[in-house]
Amino acid sequence: MTMGRNHAARGRFARLRRCAATICAVVSLSLLTAGCFDRQELEQQAFVTSIAIDKAPDGMVDCTFRIALPVNTAGGSSSTGKDPQAGTTPVTYRARSITEAMALANTSVERVLTFTHLTSVLIGEDLAREGISQQLQPLVRYREFRRTVMLAIAKGKARDFLLSDQPMLERSPARMADALVQVGDSSGLIPGDRLHDFLTALENPHEDPVASLVAVNAAVQQDPQGKSGIQGDNVSYDAGSIRRAGGNPVEWAGTAVFQGDKLVGYLNARETILLQLLRGRLRRTKLEFPDPQDPTKTVGLILRRERSPQYDIRLSDPLRVTVRVPLDVDLTSTEVKTDYTLPGNREYLERQLTHMMEQEMEALLIKLERQYRADVVPISRQGRPKFATYQQFAAYRWEEKLPDAQYQVQPDLHIRRFGVQFGPVQNRAGNLPAGNISAESSGNAVQR
């Protein structure tokens, strides 16, 4: 009896002790996961907003950091004339990897470098041609980097881009990358792919990544005020040689095309717009085409994506790829006197525009797949439903098949709106607008 009670008491005590131990463990473990040892005041950190990575001799890299410079606006520092949110002058370190450069950077930056607010990673052309997967490793692994960082390839040295970048409107260089991605999404002039998109394309079988292309415009850099006027006598869509005077010496236009992790070529801004339409990433853009009646004149269009492009892939030999790109078109400008609002004229214009676009897009696909041998659209992913298993898809030799494939692009243009004015602008000379083109002899049937 006594034994039994003792036993019970001991059991109760043990249970109590176990319970207390559990509570202690839970409390201490849950509280020790964080603590004031993690505290970091804002004044102890240097926020890196951009990194530029360039090739250096002997397999080393030059890493350039641009650090956000907080200046106290409340202290009346506006009199100094310095932009309160401007970044500091970029600093460059030579090291064997980004992480080493990050470590070395603290030898001359007096605060702890923090990369949580990194917005853009720029990679120099030379380095990109050699392959960048090794350099991207820390960006993937280290927890301070986010995959939303904008990845861009700089023609020439990436460091030069950072040095000459003087945003026209943004006060904070940190906003720059976000703004660029936004510009890319709404105009299509750059793909605006983020690090995440790049890495996804790199890791998926058969796909190839793209990155935005940036460059320093030498003409603007030499003459920032634009005093000597505009050089060049043609329209250029190439980064670094856009015809302009004045403004930010750097510009972003076009796409850097990769094969795997190696840079293989560039697309200009116009090709980028078409590529983005083919990828289905662009909702709305502006594009000019030569007027079908007079190639020296242009028609201006606003293109809207009606639906995502539809890919029809036949796994025949050769591979046959048919793409339907349904687009909704606003006519924004015409220079000829033809009244395109008339049904016959509208159909004529639609036909001609479809034809022109078809040729341009097919040329682009052939350039990408045959010349660069890079599947950046990616067409292979559109062909995935053709395979029963992932293994079959992965084993299919897309890389060999795609360059020899037959490409057919069918842009499906519908002119739906004509802007706020219907007819062409009337001249006082009394010239009446042209009537229905289909009634005239087709070809160069312009009435003057």
Partner: protein
């Protein structure tokens, strides 16, 4: 003053008065008037200031006139009619103690020679202010009268609104020395009888010297004495009490307190303002959402700011972070110290504002905050962001309609900031979980504090975030388990549609 040592009223008026004077000495406010009734000495005693002089004069004149007419007609005194007057409610007392108590209540007492009893005349007019506008719960629309310090007047205000014999007022006396009248108000046939029983029992158990204010009662009967959150609702608006009683709740009023305590109460009730019921019902939704948001802002804003700035900078948008960091350069204190300092300064200003006379108080609190905040920013002691956050917290707490909730929020922001300073967002989260768990465990007279959300009572959700139109609120809240669940006897009261 127990009954055993009660003194009977002596037969001589003079002796009775001497007795009373002896008890009360020194008592400059004891007044007396002597006259003859049927040739016998009669003395009226009263306490100055507690009675209405005109009514007293009128009463004495009536009594004397009556007495004279009796004399002329019947030729003899009629002891039964001494002191009775048609203009007053008259009570007869046989103990001196009762007479004295009646005097404390503002009644006049008539002693007549040869009679072993006294007559009390109800001529009371206790000092107090007249009915005024609600100061603590002002509304733009709706009734504009508030309770005053007199229980009688307050009950009259309720009677005026609830003209039914089912509206019951039970009174009991609490306080050994103050003998304060406490009234329990409820609607018989609607309220759950156990609720009234519980309220009565809790009140009867109270043993105190004096009930100075309603809060004494509240702290005795409240469910969780240590809880920061109010588990009773105090209001100074009679119509709010009337509608609470119609919901099947119980009110408790204390003589001398211009407030009524309503039980049970839930968390969501604390965030609904009387205004919600006087405006168009569509406005209640955004306003209530705003108040919920403001409550959590009042509790969490400084702690979130501190944890975002000292631990979780990666969650702040870059441009904002850069500008906050720019503001923060040159501030000599860690963010936590800055936050706590600013919060304490704000609380000090708020306290100063309530202590000072109203006209001065407001200017002190507003100008003081602006000037001190601005000066501190210019001197580089506090960052402008911190001033914004702390004052936004203050403003948020001012939007809460229930005073108890405001105080809870004021107090809770400090532990949250301290948790944020040690553990960052993680600490805020942990403390938040504990807080919500605590809220869920609270009860107010048997009703879960977070009902009708948790436990969920779908029928009662019509008065939580939204305020259903009046014609849709056919049923009384189910959470109070009323005897009569439908309002207006269960008739469906849809608005009549116009047209065919």
């Amino acid at each position: 003053m127990s009954r055993s040592e009660a003194t009977p009223v002596p037969a001589q008026a003079e002796r009775a008065v001497a007795h009373v004077e002896q008890w009360l000495m020194p008592c400059p406010d004891l007044k007396q008037q002597r006259f003859l009734l049927s040739g016998r000495h009669a003395i009226v005693l009263w306490l100055d200031g507690l009675v209405k002089e005109e009514r007293l004069q009128h009463a004495m004149a009536t009594v004397i006139a009556q007495d004279m007419s009796l004399h002329t007609r019947r030729r003899g005194p009629d002891p039964e009619h001494h002191g009775l007057t048609p203009a007053l409610s008259v009570r007869e007392v046989e103990k001196l103690e009762d007479a004295l108590e009646a005097m404390f209540d503002g009644q006049a007492v008539l002693f007549v020679d040869g009679e072993r009893r006294a007559y009390t005349w109800d001529v009371e007019e206790p000092p107090g202010r007249s009915i005024d506008r609600p100061e603590n719960e002002p509304t733009l629309q709706g009734p504009q009268e508030a309770f005053v310090e007199s229980l009688g007047l307050n009950l009259a205000m309720l009677r005026k609104r609830l003209k039914t014999r089912q509206f019951k007022v039970e009174t009991l006396e609490i306080g050994q020395r103050s003998r304060t009248r406490v009234a329990i108000l409820y609607m018989e046939g609607v309220v759950k009888p156990e609720l009234v029983e519980e309220a009565r029992e809790r009140l009867q158990r109270i043993q105190v010297d004096a009930v100075i204010d309603l809060n004494v009662i509240r702290e005795y009967v409240t469910d969780s004495p240590f809880s920061l959150f109010p588990t009773t609702e105090e209001t100074e608006r009679p119509e709010r009490v009337a509608s609470g009683i119609l919901q099947g709740r119980v009110g408790v009023m204390v003589d001398g307190a211009p407030m009524c305590m309503m039980v049970p109460v839930t968390f969501t009730m604390c965030l609904s303002s009387p205004e919600d019921y006087y405006m168009h019902y569509t406005l209640a939704l955004p306003l209530r959402l705003l108040r919920h948001l403001m409550f959590w802002s009042a509790v969490l804003l400084p702690s979130l700011y501190v944890s975002l700035l000292t631990y979780n900078q990666d969650l702040v948008p870059t441009p904002l972070l850069v500008s906050v960091a720019a503001q923060h350069t040159g501030i000599p204190f860690p963010t936590v110290v800055e936050a706590l300092g600013m919060m304490i300064a704000f609380e000090a200003l708020r306290e100063a504002g309530t202590r000072l006379p109203r006209a001065v108080g407001q200017s002190v609190s507003i100008v003081g905050t602006l000037i001190i905040g601005d000066a501190a920013v210019r001197a580089g002691l506090v960052s402008p962001g911190m001033v914004i956050v702390v004052s936004a917290t203050g403003v948020a707490s001012f939007t809460l309609p229930a005073l108890g909730l405001v105080q809870a929020a004021r107090l809770l922001q400090f532990p949250f900031v301290i948790a944020a300073s040690f553990f960052g967002l993680y600490g805020v989260l942990l403390l938040g979980i504990i807080l919500v768990g605590r809220l869920a465990s609270l009860r107010s007279f048997g009703v879960p504090y977070l009902s009708p959300v948790a436990p969920n009572i779908p029928e009662d959700m019509k008065d939580v975030v939204i305020r259903a139109p009046w014609w849709w609120m056919r049923r009384r809240p189910r959470q109070f388990e009323t005897l009569e669940s439908t309002r207006a006897g269960g008739r469906r009261l849809y608005p009549r549609r116009s047209g065919p």
